[in-house]
């Protein structure tokens, strides 16, 4: 290996490192990024590892909800959320959402839940990233009639922690509707990519 190459390799690695880090992040198409101007309400949360750890220092150990949150984020490397709420239906394009979904139809990702509801138009996809048979991240894409939400949690997440995520933080556990109302929905559970 020449001296020049030996000098260039660390430089290339140094330049490529942020790109490697970003590789796990959710890339939103420009069409989705522009939705903020149309939305009635927009939530954008970008918290990387150091920010998460810093924020978790302010979580109270006395508050049970915050104590659970601190436990949950202890090993996480990032939380990224984009949520847009619109006044009217059809504010976003299905193609844009499909473009985001397509990012996770790649090796290492598994779509564990995919719900398509023709009745109310609520579509939810949950993708897990597995590394050495352990969960290394989760992506939730929820496309509702008047709401579009992308959640990307990077880092190891235990199943019980995941259950906590679904049933805590002041959000009451949702109850299923009575059996009489027949939904026009189809769900793919455990589809492995």
């Amino acid at each position: 290996m020449s001296t020049m190459t030996r000098k260039l390799v660390p430089l290339i690695l140094l330049l490529a490192f942020p790109a490697i880090l970003r590789a796990q992040e959710l890339k939103l198409p420009p069409g989705v990024e522009k939705l903020a101007s149309k939305a009635k309400e927009t939530v954008e949360v970008n918290m990387d590892g150091p920010m998460l750890h810093w924020a978790s220092k302010f979580l109270s150990a006395e508050d049970p909800e915050e104590r659970k949150a601190a436990k949950l984020v202890a090993n996480l490397k990032g939380i990224y959320v984009r949520s847009y709420e619109f006044s009217d239906e059809g504010a976003y394009s299905a193609a844009d959402v499909e473009e985001v979904r397509a990012q996770f139809r790649s090796p290492g990702w598994s779509r564990v839940v995919g719900v398509r509801s023709e009745r109310d138009g609520d579509n939810v996809d949950i993708f897990f990233k597995l590394e050495n048979e352990k969960m290394a991240g989760i992506v939730i894409i929820s496309a509702e009639a008047k709401e579009l939400t992308f959640v990307n949690i990077v880092g190891p997440l235990e199943v019980d922690q995941l259950a906590d995520l679904g049933g805590e933080f002041g959000i009451p556990k949702l109850k299923t509707r009575p059996q009489s109302s027949k939904p026009m929905a189809k769900a793919d559970k455990g589809e492995q990519k």
Partner: protein, 135 residues
């Protein structure tokens, strides 16, 4: 020989008479205090004056003023930074909790949809039929 030498009891009587308990004259305590107080305050005043005499020199006086001002400014900046950091930390915490709430609610939505579909599906027909029913 004196009278006392002749009679030792007279000496004892004289001593007893000289050492007998006698009440202080009226106003004695007040007079003692009135004299002692100005002396004590004068001593304190002298001590204070010796401390303050350090600041009689303009250089020292202004140095002390500057030191106090610097301490106050540094203390103020430190306190303000601490307050700002705390406010930023609280805001970050709120952001984190909001992100978790949104993630939790979407997970719940997916759960609800899956449960909805599972409960609406018709019960599967039993597979192990008896040989008689098959014929």
């Amino acid at each position: 020989m004196t009278e006392i030498n002749k009679n030792p009891n007279l000496l004892e009587d004289a001593l007893r008479n000289a050492l007998r308990r006698e009440d202080a004259p009226e106003g004695f305590a007040l007079r003692v205090l009135a004299r002692a107080l100005p002396q004590a305050s004068a001593a304190q005043e002298a001590q204070r004056a010796s401390w303050l005499s350090i600041f009689s020199q303009p250089l020292l006086r202004w140095s002390a003023v500057a030191a106090v001002t610097i301490c106050l400014v540094i203390g103020g900046i430190y306190y303000r930074n601490l307050q700002r950091q705390r406010a930023e930390g609280e805001a970050a915490k709120q952001q984190l909790m909001l992100a978790l709430r949104i993630a939790g609610s979407k997970l719940q939505l997916a759960k609800e949809k899956v449960n909805e579909i599972n409960t609406s599906r018709p019960e599967p027909q039993p597979q192990n039929r008896s040989p008689r029913s098959r014929s």
